[in-house]
Amino acid sequence: MDRLRGAPKVAWYDGLMPPLVTDLRYLLPWQFSPTVFVTSVVIVTLYLRGLLALRRNADPVGFWRAFTFLLGVALNYAVLQTYVDYLSQHMFWIHRFQHLILHHVGPVLVVLAAPERVLRAGLPPGVVRRVRIPAWIRRPIQLLFRFLQHPVIAPTLFVGLIFFWLTPSIHFTAMIDTRRYLLMNWSMLADGLLFWWLMLAPRQAQGSAAIGYGWRLVILSLVAIPQLLLGAYITLHSSPLYDVYAICGRAFAISPLDDQQIGGLLTWIPAAMMSLVGIITVLHHILHDPEATAARRRGGFTPPVQAAGGARSGATA
């Protein structure tokens, strides 16, 4: 990390800041986003309030569940609002790492923790009773949500966004234009939450958006393939695909092809591993889902797995 400190030891501006402050600088946002800050504070506050409320009701949330949720939120915050954000703008592989968190790891952690119940418990009671969202706001949002959660649209969008932002000409404009950069990161995070919620949340929690566990296994396997191909293409390409990092400067010294290959590998392997994590989670749901047999009767495509452990229905909620 010494290289990143950005100055030779004798720089004229050195010594103006004590070392501790220089180090804390890496935890501060490169470009402060009030939206990210306020959203994170509100969500974490609600969640912590919810944890306390549930504990008071003798219905405590397990440590690891709470830890998973807070870790997911913290990772998303860290890649958006610390020095990682600067590095992501000026190093292809760190940009790929940032999107691995925003689009895969962060949302998966948040969804696995099933935080809806805790967040609801954290709302001030008055808000729950008094606030009624009018139909003209609620309807379009519901329509949009149903569209985005369509079993064909959702995986298409999930893979499509990765390809879209990695198209070299579009990648260039996203890296040079602050507004597009923000749009890119928000779209990845929002889509990550939507997709992984659709894939990983227990069916009972999903209401009308739910799709059968069998279909989820198919979708999770299918979305891995284009990610594998794209990752391999980037990794094995023999010339730099993304010139913006040479044009605008890299955050530290690394050869353009090394940068591209590490970035390609991050697109290739961990992204596909997340499909595997998803598949294991869905298999877990199948084994513990009390409705599995009922769903098979409704005609949903579900592999013939014994709906064993139905008595532990609450385990996955």
Binding site: P8, L143, F147, I153, R180, I247, A253
Partner: protein, 209 residues
């Protein structure tokens, strides 16, 4: 597949219409300024990069702002005077482009912002940019100003470890940002663009197209 899709559309007409409108809006937004204008050889960055704005110290030690260069075409480049290859090459290309322009060159300013203000004092800058022509201006930021500029123009620089004599190299952006007389970002000259290409695009910008 088409049968399935039309089924989706029939069943969810409002959703499909919404999606189509959204897709159209997004693609037009993104296509609007992206890509290369057939007019220009250099990369078109109209609407993508922040307008010209800064408050720096010039080679004569005077405080200057972007407003001082209104009505001129401004070529903004980040480098440092001890740069072994890239900066002299780029600045020479720009100087040759300006010679090609002839008298029109008086409407162009090349702003050379040093990313190494420790070694590049105003006197060093003055001597250095003087080598390239009267249109060249050396600008010296302090550390805070340099950080602000790097955020505004989304550029990076970093200092290599010094050798035993204390000499060090600085890695920095290679692009030349070109702004029109109103301070709007228009073009990006890259290291593979030659003087003829730069000159002909500058001429088009000066003609007000």
């Amino acid at each position: 597949m088409t049968g399935f899709l039309s089924g989706v559309i029939r069943r969810r007409r409002p959703i499909a219409a919404l999606a189509a409108a959204g897709a159209l809006l997004l693609s037009s937004l993104l296509a609007g300024c992206a890509g290369n204008d057939p007019h220009y050889t250099l990369k078109n960055i109209k609407g993508l990069v922040s307008p010209l704005e800064f408050r720096l110290t010039n080679q004569d030690g005077q405080a200057v702002t972007a407003a001082d260069y209104r009505h001129d075409l401004v070529l903004l480049y980040f480098g440092y005077t001890q740069c072994p290859d890239e900066c002299p090459t780029t600045l020479t290309t720009l100087a040759n482009a300006l010679r090609t322009l002839g008298p029109q060159a008086s409407q162009v300013r090349v702003l050379f912002v040093t990313v190494d203000p420790r070694r590049d004092t105003t006197e060093v800058l003055k001597r250095y940019v003087g080598n390239f022509g009267p249109e060249f201006v050396g600008l010296r930021p302090d550390q805070g100003e340099l950080t602000d500029l790097s955020k505004r123009y989304r550029i990076a620089y970093h200092y290599e470890a010094p050798d035993k004599y204390g000499n060090y190299e600085v890695d920095h952006s290679s692009a030349v940002f070109i702004f029109d007389g109103d301070g709007r970002a228009r073009l990006l000259a890259l290291s593979d663009n030659n003087a003829r290409q730069v000159a002909s695009d500058l001429r088009r910008l000066l003609a007000g197209s």
